[in-house]
Structures are given as structure tokens and as C-alpha cells.
């Protein structure tokens, strides 16, 4: 038995959304009574989340729409900082939160690769070094020089998946993005994800496709009303997840 090594640890994490609900009235109150009124109202999206995910694990998050799964992934990728509690990550994270985000229709495939990599925080030198690899993986051939607006949806997904995956992540966050593209592309993505997993990476997976989840993951958590209600094997969590829907 190899020792269990934590890869992600969340301790008492609270995440709030800040919304202004009263429109102009709240602006007026805010300006007329300084300090007394808050401009934004706090509402909890995730409350008191404790979760540990270990190295090499494939972990699924199950839950209804709006239960806070995506917010949890955003927090793990650093897009949202928690209001309370701690998120510890023991490796580099690659979020696959939305394929095609940041792709600019008017630019060519190559220009888009450079732009997306830059947005992901890579330096010019790193991008130059990785560029051939990305082009190669995308299998877009000549089309890489086309403007992205001439791409089909599948080609676009290929491009953005190739970009997102390039950093050899130790933690991969996947938010229902594998269900895009044609069958061939889906399988290729899945194969790549498996390959990354076999190299020892940790994968966190959000999907409503239970079959996909049970094929890929060993453990899962049930997210409901902003809390992690239950952590267990995929089978156990799956049963509870299905229970949520029968009244």
C-alpha cells in the first residue's frame, strides 16, 4: 500500500456571492449614509466545506444544478478566493471550465493559441516552446492558419482542449466539457485525460452523466445546497444523488 498523499485540502471553506439587489435604492442609501449600509449583499454559495482529495485520485462532484459545484471548481482554480477557510493545493492546477473561452473569432488558430496561453499566465518563451506541441495535438493541420470563425464547433473544441491540457497539470479540473465535439474527439479527450491520470495526476470531474462518472472515478462527493453532504464511493454517492430527485 502506498501512503495516501493529499493533493487538495479544503478546510471550513465559505464562499459568498456579492450581489446588489435593491438597484438604485441601495446606491442612494450607500451614498447618503456612509458606513451604515453595505452596497452589496452577501449570500452564501458554499458553506463550511471540508474535503480532502488525494494524489492520483479521480474524484467526481455530483449535485443538482446550482448546488455550487462550478463555484467549487472556480475556487480550486483560483478564480474565486474563499471568504473564510483554507484551500490547500499541492500541485499545479489546470482548469477546463469552459472550452472555447477566450478564443477570438477573427484571429487565426495560431494567434489564438498564443493569446490563450498568455491569458493562462505563460511567458513568451514558454509559449514558443510549447506551440508545436499544441498544434500537433490539435491535429488541425493546415486549418491552424485559418481564422477561428471558419472553424466548426468540433475544431474549436479541439483547439481549446489542446491549449488547456498543455501544461501537464498535476490537478485537472473538468466541468462538463468532455461532452462537446464529435465522438472521435470525445474519445481522444477522454484518452488524454486517462493518460494524464496514469501519469499520477489528480482529476476532479463535474458531470451529470453518471455512466461517465462511474467509469472514470473511484470516489465522489455529493454537493447539495452549498455544502458537501456526503463523501464516499461513486456508487454510494450516486444512490444519494438519485434520491435527491425522487420525492
Amino acid at each position: 500500500m502506498t501512503a495516501i498523499q493529499p493533493m487538495i485540502r479544503l478546510t471550513d471553506v465559505d464562499i459568498c456571492f456579492y450581489v446588489q439587489e435593491n438597484g438604485f435604492v441601495s446606491m442612494k442609501d450607500f451614498l447618503l449614509h456612509p458606513g451604515k449600509y453595505k452596497l452589496l449583499q452577501k449570500s452564501f454559495v458554499l458553506k463550511n466545506v471540508n474535503l480532502q482529495i488525494n494524489k492520483g485520485e479521480s474524484f467526481a462532484l455530483l449535485g443538482k444544478n446550482g448546488s455550487g459545484k462550478s463555484t467549487l471548481l472556480r475556487a480550486l482554480s483560483g478564480i474565486i478566493t474563499p471568504d473564510k477557510g483554507n484551500i490547500e493545493l499541492f500541485g499545479a492546477v489546470a482548469p477546463l471550465l469552459g472550452l472555447g473561452v477566450g478564443l477570438e473569432q477573427e484571429l487565426t488558430g495560431i494567434e489564438n493559441i498564443k493569446l490563450s496561453c498568455a491569458l493562462m499566465g505563460m511567458t513568451k518563451a514558454e509559449i514558443k516552446q510549447r506551440l508545436p506541441e499544441i498544434i500537433d495535438f490539435s491535429e488541425l493541420g493546415e486549418a491552424i492558419h485559418w481564422q477561428v470563425k471558419r472553424f466548426s464547433t468540433g475544431m474549436m473544441s479541439r483547439l481549446s482542449f489542446s491549449i488547456a491540457i498543455i501544461k501537464q497539470p498535476e490537478i485537472l479540473l473538468i466541468d462538463e466539457v468532455l461532452s462537446v465535439g464529435d465522438l472521435g474527439f470525445q474519445q481522444k479527450c477522454l484518452k488524454k485525460v486517462m493518460e494524464i491520470k496514469d501519469n499520477g495526476a489528480t482529476i476532479i470531474f463535474v458531470s451529470h452523466n453518471f455512466e461517465e462518472v462511474s467509469n472514470m472515478c473511484s470516489r465522489a462527493a455529493l454537493v447539495n445546497n452549498g455544502t458537501v453532504e456526503f463523501v464516499g464511493t461513486v456508487k454510494e454517492v450516486g444512490e444519494r444523488y438519485h434520491h435527491l430527485f425522487d420525492n
Binding site: L40, E106, L115, M120
Partner: protein
């Protein structure tokens, strides 16, 4: 306190890449490219020369008007670009881990770059209109950085509020034409009587446009008053803008 992202190489590259994208997109698929950025001031210049020259009895009024127009366009357009930068980049903001300061900053960088690009042909026109090149021209570069800081701060302040109250964007596009007439562009401050002139100085844009008039119309260094006030306004605007942005950016994702 979080460390400033400005010193991070990846962040710098992200800002430059976004700015470059903005510039590329602006001129892609158009034959006349930079010309379009010049057309608006040239049309206005024609009107000002025909109509307003009659009330402004100064030498080289056309040069005065053109200088004002170029930099007024720069300031008013770039404030709007910075203001809307958070909303324009909503998708990226929601799915890529990138410091949101990147968006206003890259909008500003793109605007300055665009200014430099259009200034080259405008320079030729300015010579025709009687511009007398002098060393004071060099003041243009540091002064434009001060202007950019002012614009960035003000744009970020309004941009932050605009995420929660989209009225700001509409308000700004509504009042900006009024500011055009409040700022000495179509007329010189001397047109107003001594005791009315203080009114003009309540307008923060006054000091920036007048400094550019100093540099390009009067071929002199900006006056102490114009330069000092511009610098002060830039610092204040940036301080308020950044503090507001930093305080309220935690709600960006839930409101965009």
C-alpha cells in the same frame, strides 16, 4: 496584502497580448485601417474651422482645435474602453485564473498604442497648420503617461461601479458630449471673461487638454498649474480607482 501582479512576467505578457488583440481586431478586415481613427477628428476639425474660427481670433486656430480634438478623443474614448473592460471580458473573467487588473490595464495600453499610431499622420497635418517643433515636444511622452494613469483610475472607478449598476456606462456616454463643450477645444479660455474663467477650471479635463495645448499649440512646456493639477488628478484618480476596484472585485464574478 496581495503582491502586485505588475511584476509577474506571465501577467505582463497577458496584458500585452490582450492589448495587441484589441489593436489587431480594430484594424483587421478594414481597408482604411488607421484612417478611421483619424476621420472623426478631421470631420470635427472642418466644422470647428468653418464655424468656431469666427469667434476665436487667435493665430493658427486650426492647430489649436486639432490638438484639442486628438487628445479629447483619446481621453474620452479610452475612459469608455477601460470602463467596459470588465464586462467585455466576462467570459475570461469567469473561467481563467487571471488577475482582473489585466483588463483595464490592457485596454489602456491598447488606447495609448492607438494614439501613437494615429499621431504619426496627424503630425504631418499639424506641421501644415503651423506647428513649430521644439524640445518641449519631449514632454509629450511623460505627460501622456500621466494622462493614462488618470484615465485608467477614473475608468476603473466607473468600471467597477458599472459591474453592479450598468447605468454608469449609459451615464458616461450621455454626459461626455457635454464635457466636450465644457473643455476648451472649440474655443480658447480667453473667450470667457476673467471672472467666469474659474468655471472652466472646475473641469478636470481642462488641465489635461490645456497641457496638450501648451505642448503642441504653444510649443512650450506645460505650465506649472496645468501640469501640477494633472499630476494631482492622476494620483487621486488612480488611488480612488484602485481602492474601489480592489474592494469590490470580489463580487465581479457573481454580477457579470
Amino acid at each position: 496584502m496581495t503582491k502586485s501582479p505588475l511584476f509577474n512576467k506571465g501577467f505582463q505578457n497577458a496584458v500585452l497580448s490582450l492589448a495587441l488583440k484589441t489593436i489587431k481586431l480594430r484594424y483587421k478586415n478594414s481597408f482604411l485601417g488607421v484612417f478611421w481613427s483619424m476621420l472623426n477628428p478631421l470631420i470635427f476639425l472642418t466644422i470647428l474651422i468653418i464655424v468656431f474660427k469666427q469667434i476665436n481670433h487667435i493665430e493658427h486656430f486650426a492647430l489649436y482645435a486639432l490638438t484639442g480634438l486628438i487628445f479629447w478623443n483619446f481621453i474620452s474614448a479610452s475612459i469608455l474602453q477601460v470602463l467596459t473592460s470588465f464586462i467585455d471580458n466576462a467570459a475570461i473573467l469567469k473561467s481563467i485564473n487571471l488577475h482582473p487588473f489585466c483588463f483595464p490595464l490592457s485596454a489602456m495600453v491598447a488606447a495609448v498604442f492607438n494614439l501613437l499610431l494615429t499621431l504619426i499622420p496627424f503630425f504631418v497635418i499639424m506641421f501644415f497648420l503651423g506647428y513649430d517643433l521644439s524640445w518641449s515636444f519631449l514632454a509629450f511622452f511623460p505627460f501622456t503617461i500621466i494622462t493614462a494613469i488618470f484615465v485608467l483610475g477614473l475608468g476603473m472607478l466607473m468600471g467597477t461601479i458599472n459591474v453592479y449598476f450598468r447605468d454608469i456606462q449609459l451615464l458616461w456616454t450621455t454626459i461626455i458630449p457635454a464635457f466636450f463643450y465644457f473643455t476648451p477645444i472649440a474655443y480658447t479660455p480667453e473667450l470667457l471673461s476673467e471672472n467666469q474663467r474659474f468655471l472652466l477650471k472646475l473641469n478636470p479635463f481642462y488641465y489635461f487638454i490645456e497641457s496638450y495645448h501648451d505642448i503642441f499649440y504653444r510649443s512650450a512646456m506645460p505650465s506649472y498649474e496645468n501640469f501640477g493639477m494633472s499630476l494631482l488628478l492622476a494620483i487621486l484618480s488612480m488611488a480612488f480607482g484602485y481602492v474601489a476596484f480592489n474592494k469590490y472585485r470580489k463580487g465581479f464574478i457573481s454580477n457579470i
